[in-house]
Point group: C2
Chain length 413, copies 2
Amino acid sequence: MKAEIITIGDEILIGQIVDTNSAWIAEQFNLGGIEIYQITSVHDDAAHIKSALDNAKENADLVILTGGLGPTKDDITKNVLCAYFQTKLVFHEPTFEQIKNRFKNRNIDLNKLNRGQAMVPETCTVLPNKAGTAPGMWFEKDDTIFVSVPGVPFEMKYLVENEILPRLQNRSKTGAIYHKTVLTQGLPESMLAERIENWENSLPKHIKLAYLPNPMSVRLRLSAVGTDLEQLKHEVEKEMGTLKQLIPEYIFGYDNETLAEVIGRNLLENGQTLAVAESCTGGYISHLITSVPGSSGWYKGGVTAYSNEIKQKMLGVSGDSLLKYGAVSENVVREMAEGARQKLAVDFAVATSGIAGPTGGTEEKPVGTVWIAVAGPGKTIAQKFVFGDNRERNIIRSGQTALQLLRRQVLKG
Amino acid sequence: MKAEIITIGDEILIGQIVDTNSAWIAEQFNLGGIEIYQITSVHDDAAHIKSALDNAKENADLVILTGGLGPTKDDITKNVLCAYFQTKLVFHEPTFEQIKNRFKNRNIDLNKLNRGQAMVPETCTVLPNKAGTAPGMWFEKDDTIFVSVPGVPFEMKYLVENEILPRLQNRSKTGAIYHKTVLTQGLPESMLAERIENWENSLPKHIKLAYLPNPMSVRLRLSAVGTDLEQLKHEVEKEMGTLKQLIPEYIFGYDNETLAEVIGRNLLENGQTLAVAESCTGGYISHLITSVPGSSGWYKGGVTAYSNEIKQKMLGVSGDSLLKYGAVSENVVREMAEGARQKLAVDFAVATSGIAGPTGGTEEKPVGTVWIAVAGPGKTIAQKFVFGDNRERNIIRSGQTALQLLRRQVLKG
């Protein structure tokens, strides 16, 4: 089964929001064996939506539309669908009851706009939305399924998980797809490709390899398409086994694992704990760590020391070092890591101190200069990096690099 | 001038990555007066890319393609472009020199894949990529411009900023577009719409209003299209002035301002400082704050107290309170906020303690239960929230809600 996602909304096309819905839907559908053929983002414009529907119908068995179902004037999807499926809006009592209950619980009066949300195209199957006010709508025409859901992410997710995927799984058109991704670090894409060239060339035709590089790592994804999921799984795992032997030292994880998750697993296995002391990363490393479910089992906490005063008071950094070397220095970052390790009573502590920008740089220490230290049971290591001039990117790269250094020290024990 | 963005890559269509490039390009182009007609994501597949190019050509004066320019086998964009523009790949010496220099600086040997990256379609204008190895390519055909750039975000951004936008600005086809967004909080979308209905109906035809709701706020965006930017600006600002009078108490900021930015501006005006004490948000609030350039002027730092031990040791929470009420309680969250305020010597401190999930919930305190406190010069306030069962969402909502509460207290002084 092939699907197309159509996201509707001017806010996407002026870049005011990043379309995260499509990636989420694509992932869920793929796991369910439904291939996404295309993602198309269009304006809140009747003619444009109609032409997108026509195009999608040519390539897809299933078209999922998100957005444009709000109660306000710029939301036109419902009217467009009525015209497209030659039907009209009718009042849907169960939806109205659901909206009424929803607002009753929140002590808010219903108004005529909400009543409008209970109007649905007469020929559609209404998908009840327990996460919001606008219901989903399911149409079928010429062997193609069209489903329309709100653009608000958690409402869309509710409908996909509870109404759409279960209905699709009851149909048996879906084939099997199996993906497995290996996460590597330390070799640039082109050198990695050279190293695994023979293996790549020997892959069977129904198994495809993709390189997914980003500044911090290269992910290698194998995708197998067929009919028998267990068989595909077996084949992909076998190929992964061969790959592992070719680049053992560069693999640090699999699939959607994050660096923080991998580190946590290692710490947990060794019964060790972690703390952080952040200056330029300002809480980002701690956030990456605590995004991992169960991280409280190995992460005790951290200090964001955004001022020198806090570096001294909470981490025990010496005033002398701050005066003599400055906050962005090997001495200070080592003292931060060691201070955190001692004061928070953990096995490992990672510390950052740098100039994220856009201001604060000097000739000697330009914006992007970052010191990172890891204090462990055996020793403390520290390393200097010079990233770019973009604040956001500097924070992200510093955080990811700190986790890389930490991972290596944790592996050494 | 109308543009279409085509993003190429299986990784987008299986949901492995979120396409953030398109939103960034859309925003930059809009600021430059270029309207984005559509965003289309397609597979690394020659026929599919070709049909997307054909479709785009019908509606757009400019087509920008991202992705599929890497050195590996799954990257086919360059060959597809050669076929589409009936040309062939030729060796491009300046590109090869640039790649050589790039790798020389990194002490990595060139291999044949990198040499392949210096092969470019004969009829294109090569756009030098100083941020990576794959150059951009500029084609013109039947009054349509086609530009192909790598999918790696910072390489794409480099080429758009330094090579593409300057070239487009030298042409005068572009019209004027002006957007202004007001950020509101406290009224649901439908009630907001009712309140401003007459104003909305009175807007001139070339000024459009859009509602951009998300779980924490509703943004209202005015978009004006015309020829004279100054005139549009003037008209939109006038309409914004009227809007402000209709809903003064619900507006907290404008355009891309974040809540943290708005709080920082207020603190700075009052010469006040801030600290955080985070349990369930685990560094996320601190990260939101330190993402604001210049935040070191009003943010001193914070403590992520992920264990009770740290709550006691670093924030002075009493062991009795932890024992008697548990970490997720009004007493503890108040002590965390007051402890942070005192120990970090700031005017305001915000604290969170909750159960982010997926585990750790009890009947009395289910997953999603979060206490938030704000300690200020006058008093400490605390409030309990019950969010959902999704860890990521609970962290985000807790963080945003904490900033909302903080903002209100900061406004009170």
